[in-house]
Point group: C2
Chain length 311, copies 2
DNA sequence: CTGAAAGCGCTAACAT
DNA sequence: ATGTTAGCGCTTTCAG
């Protein structure tokens, strides 16, 4: 029976007979026993840091389609940006003998990718790059997106452009600040370090940073905010302080927000190709499973500027 | 070793000795083998219909906290409102011998809850109620929420109040329409059937329904829209047609939307206690696992009206 | 090509 | 209280 169901060499008669009985009995192999024996299961895990961040949710879609088509079921794990929870999920993933993991690391330094690798589970990194960078990855060109955003602010006539970025030890935080600097340099502007805020990619952080910038003697007239949540925080600060966008100041964010066309103002943003990111990562994982020795691949996707009202 | 690790009767000496060696070797039991033997695993599945709908995402949080505390890992499955995908996930869930399932059914009629139940996996229904209603469930009081919403529209002086609801074969669609009717009846108003639109809980559907209502000879001056996505669609229709909210018409939606305070206009809504829903459902599941014969419980939570700008 | 037997790593039942 | 054995349901040798 095992041989028939797994498509090994069996003659036709046998095959037919087995199939018949299988159908009749509605027999389904016990996958647990199968996994115990083969040491692998037909499932993938997708580890995301924040189930409530629409950016990550959009990535899921792209991965799902590939997984389903290849016959894998995709289980999601929400780490809440907490390395401890992430570690707990890693254990559960190993326990389940998942065939592979799509990982958006909670932390670039603490995330124990090796724990999975050592146990034979291939990992593809998404959005952020965990420490040992010898695994497949799909990232977005962060400096490019930041440059597009900053250039837009320059183009609409901003003189003093602020940058609210995330933690500098993250690829995203550092890369986006880098792009901002590059854009200003190219335009022959000097960077006023007082206008650079290193925050935390959270709504609250964006709010606080904006309040600080607003309190400056010479406040900025343009804001590049390095992710969606912080942009929301910035908008709140503006509303609270009666600052009009795009009247008084302009703003460009990184990451799009669903329904953002209903915002006041509608946000101009460097949008990431979220579906594509999930899709490519899943395809990398598939390849890695089929050919463990394939050369490591680092895919870099390009963000695009979506111009709306805010700048 | 098995006995020590599972806390059976063993004397101290033995326990200590085993523990020592376990630590030294970094031994971790193979959960697959364990599950094969015990026919159950320390994991739960949470099945949601749309990973991009913030309402469902918020529910996840409440469930996670309970699961983690009780030592279960929570795996998410996104069905995309598709009964076929849902069925595929059900198989994967059975295969994994999950200890229980938190289910937001993709369809109230087609969802094969029995498939899980027959295989000994307890199920708690959330938000929607699948056909055989002899399982634990956590629902929101849909009629009440709709009444609160409609009463608000009455209170702000609306004369012709429309209702855009979801499919009537769903508890949510039917219940919300029911509450709308009840509120009007209580106020001594007659329901103009031309103002009742049965749609599909999607953005597109909300848009279309609103366009139809707008085209009426005597268009409504108040809109009760029965979920968040359709409210977004309605807002789009208004924007497109140059209808001002709350100037020209008022609107109250069901379900809150994250960041909706940044909307133009900020939405007044009957908000569901999402965290609480996930939390209660998870606690019901826990109880059901510990005591399979406990009486079936149907929890009904109350929505609250959040008044903002739109009505 | 097929039948038989061993064994994946664990727990539960049976002895002692 | 502990040592021993059988067996969960599969796949993979090894013979034939």
């Amino acid at each position: 029976v095992s041989r028939v169901l797994n498509g090994k060499d069996v003659d036709e008669d046998m095959t037919r007979r087995v199939r018949e009985v299988v159908d009749e009995l509605g027999y389904r192999p016990n996958q647990l026993a199968r996994s115990l024996r083969t040491r692998t299961a037909m499932s993938w895990a997708l580890v995301i840091p924040d189930i409530q961040n629409p950016f990550f949710n959009a990535i899921v879609r792209g991965a799902e389609d590939v997984a389903r088509e290849a016959g894998y079921s995709l289980m999601l794990a929400n780490t809440d940006e907490d390395p401890e929870r992430e570690a707990a999920y890693f254990e559960a993933i190993v326990d389940s003998r998942a065939a592979g993991v799509l990982l958006i690391p909670a932390s670039e330094r603490e995330t124990p990718v090796d724990y999975l690798l050592e146990r034979g589970i291939p990992v593809v990194a998404l959005d952020r790059h965990p420490q040992p960078d010898d695994i497949d990855s799909v990232l977005v060109d962060n400096p490019l997106g930041a440059r597009l955003a900053t250039e837009r602010l320059l183009a609409v006539g901003c003189e003093r452009i602020a940058c609210i970025t995330g933690p500098l030890q993250t690829t995203t935080g550092a890369g986006r600040l880098e792009g901002y600097r590059a854009a200003l340099a190219e335009a022959g502007r000097e960077v006023d370090e007082a206008l650079v805020e290193v925050s935390d990619f959270r709504e609250e952080g964006g709010y606080t940073a904006t309040m600080e910038l607003l309190a400056l003697d010479e406040p900025p007239d343009g804001y590049f905010v390095a992710n969606n949540l912080m942009a929301v925080g910035a908008l709140e600060a503006f509303t609270e302080q009666g600052v009009e966008v795009p009247g008084d100041v302009k703003l460009v964010s990184f990451d799009d927000i669903p329904f953002s066309r209903l915002f006041r103002p509608r946000l101009t943003a460097a949008a990431q190709p979220t579906y594509e990111m999930g899709n490519r990562a899943a395809r990398l994982l598939l390849r890695r499973i089929q050919d463990p020795d394939a050369p490591v691949e680092h895919v870099v996707l390009e963000p695009t500027l979506v111009v709306r009202e805010s700048a």
